[in-house]
Amino acid sequence: MKKSLRLAGALVCAAALTLTSCAEAPGTGGASAPPAESPSPTAGGAAFKACMVSDDGGFDDKSFNQNSHKGLLDAKAELGIETGQVESNSTADYAKNIQSMVDANCNMIVTAGFLLSDDTLAAAKKNPDVEFAIVDNNDPKTYPAVTNLKPLLFNTAQSSFLAGYLAAGMTKTKKLGTFGGVKLPTVTIFMDGFSQGVDYYNKQKSTDVQVLGWDAAKQDGQFTGDFDDIKGGQRTAEGLISQGADIVFPVAGPAGLGALQAAKASGGKVNAIWVDTDGCVSAETYCSNIITSVNKVMDVAVRDTIKAAKDGSFSNEPYVGTLENDGTGLAPFHEFDSKVPAELKSELDAVKADIISAKITIESKSQPSA
């Protein structure tokens, strides 16, 4: 017994010796340079503290939460402010997680996601001296009255329209598949835009490309039920593929990774269009199956909002990301750059210009009203 303990101790020491080596301590060479401090609030940011609460996807969801969180990290690096963050485990956590950030003396709290809207609104009313921002929700009836709550919105119907047009031009089977995570307006807006982009392509080219998984007229389609169920995402994608879809458009956060797995397993027959972030960066193992991604540039919006709050120019006016202000758009084609015909690329540019100039109107009841 004792012996085995001593042996374990010796092993730990040996490991410590080999692993840690004997690097020189920073500052030992230079005369009086103090050792690097951990990022301190003294760097000019005074005591401004920006905080963030995730929904149950967590900050590592390769999608929505992660991108918003990047905005917080960027703000920290750029402005030298203090930050705080809490990840939610379930719906029941939202209210107390937001409260815990209020208790941690945050000056500004950003909540990631539509799901936190009730609790964010309640917390904003209860704590008028804390500034709040919520990604992805705006209720024109109640929000304008709350002066310390700024909605950050994204008209992703515009960029999804481009994705739909692109997919319709790329499909060989004339069938496209899409599915969502949960039937939230912020999810279905992608699907609306996508299917209208396909419709527009059909009208322009007199083709008959079908969209499976979303019926824009009935506002109903396929959903995995949550944002974490990767297996469920894979099953749903496989269902769409077996019906003939050769391009899938998952709007389901991490659950959408299942669709990428299904695409990868098809050996190049099926490809995908990713959402929220550039899939070739956030989920790079699947890059060879990702034609493009519908970007929703939340990090910039979050960072700018925090910066404004720090500078004292916070306002509760909603921010709406569009194609025009680059708040949303298509990511680079990466490995598909050579496979997308030049003609289609220039058509996409034309369609984009038409959307910006309102020559093409997109109708989705989920579109944010600024």
Partner: protein, 392 residues
């Protein structure tokens, strides 16, 4: 406190208590190591450990002490944190009692999750659909939830008694059915909040919300959990049904020979176990959250209460008092875990790992006595009485 029944001498199992404390300490030590090794900033200071050990040691100490101070402060540091602990513990105690009661009858009830979901569905439905005067509304919603859970558990007992279907498989499947049922109901007009397209219910009426004391999270739910524990103690140790439950758990054949109906006992046990788990669901649906209002019915409403309850019941050795204490420990870890995240910025996953480590060490007393040999009881005996009937 459950006084020992009959004339048994009250023996405080000191070695058990010490081993439990030692296992918690050990878990904290392993957790501390994980914190040091998972933090790139602290780890980078170990790179020049031999050149200037103070840097690494100070950074490690600050990291660990900060995190554990936050954990303890968030769990028991004042009225607010303590009431948060009780609020977190209450549903775990209820569901843990349900799982523990079934253990005593030799039934492995994995279905607390589904039973809690059913409890939450019924309680929330009554809560937001009916509009009744204060008192009556809450009472009916609670009773409805109890019955919902009892019904879900009763089905399992009935299937087991009448067809011999194994309760482990049946309860696991019933969990899926309950979750699927909830997902379906939330898309129907009866449950979905008007104007929303996502699966979320209206907010429960104020009259059906569990009253809480101002300034903290202490609400009726914790009182109900304690009452449930007393009721289970009375049932098991004082009532005829309880005697039958324990007899069937110890040896069903002997119980049958003695004239007890194993089938009837199984059904009753699962019915009651379901009701207790249903009470956990009621708390999830009607208990006030930090904003003062209950969390509206949605897919994640009960979280993982039903599965944590299995651990709570095992940790509490299926005894009512043990379950209450285990539930409080878990509640404290939940409440403190949030503070570790928000105050000390420890990742959520690490707090979950810490909870798992504590359970692991508590559940493996032989390992603890091996690491800390002087805690070994003089007389060699198996640690802790195995719940009567075991887990088989």
């Amino acid at each position: 406190m459950s006084p020992e029944p009959r004339k048994r001498r009250l023996v405080i199992p000191w070695s058990d208590v010490l081993i439990t404390i030692a296992s918690i300490v050990l878990a904290f030590i392993v957790g501390a190591l994980l914190m040091i090794f998972s933090d790139t900033e602290v780890r980078s200071k170990f790179a020049y450990f031999f050149a200037r050990p103070s840097d690494a040691l100070i950074a490690s100490w600050e990291k660990i002490s900060g995190a554990y101070a936050a954990l303890i402060k968030g769990a028991i540091g004042g009225y607010g944190p303590i009431t948060e602990t009780t609020a977190q513990a209450a549903p775990l105690i209820c569901a843990g009692l349900g799982v523990g009661l079934a253990f005593r009858a030799g039934l492995f009830n994995i279905g607390a999750q589904g039973q809690a979901v059913l409890g939450a569905i019924v309680a929330a439905y009554i809560g937001f659909t009916w509009h009744l005067p204060p008192g009556i509304h809450l009472l009916l919603a609670i009773l409805g939830g109890l019955l919902g859970g009892a019904f879900w558990g009763g089905i399992v007992g009935w299937l087991k008694a009448k067809t011999g279907a194994h309760e482990v498989i049946v309860t696991i499947m019933m969990n899926y059915i309950a979750l699927g049922l909830l997902a379906y109901l939330l898309t129907t007009p009866a449950f979905q909040r008007p104007g929303r397209t996502d699966p979320i219910s209206p907010i429960v009426d104020w009259n059906a919300t569990m009253p809480r004391l101002e300034g903290g999270q202490l609400h009726l739910g914790f009182l109900l959990a304690l009452l449930a524990a007393v009721a289970v103690w009375w049932l098991l140790d004082r009532s005829t049904i309880g005697f039958a439950i324990r007899a069937v758990g110890a040896n069903p054949h002997a119980a049958a020979t003695a004239g007890m109906s194993v089938a009837r006992t199984t059904i009753i046990t699962m019915f009651l176990a379901g009701a207790l788990a249903g009470l956990a669901g009621v708390q999830a649906a009607l208990g006030p959250s930090a904003s003062g209002l209950p969390v509206p019915l949605s897919l994640g409403i009960v979280g993982s209460i039903g599965f944590d309850a299995i651990t709570v019941a095992l940790l509490g050795q299926s005894k009512p008092l043990g379950t209450v204490l285990a539930g409080l420990l878990f509640g404290a870890l939940h409440a403190g875990g949030l503070a570790m995240q928000s105050v000390a910025q420890t990742p959520l996953t690490l707090t979950t790992v810490l909870q798992a480590l504590i359970v692991l060490f508590v559940a493996a007393p032989a390992l603890v006595t091996k690491i800390v040999p002087f805690l070994k009881p003089r007389k060699t005996r198996a640690f802790g009485p195995v719940p009567e009937g075991g887990l088989a």
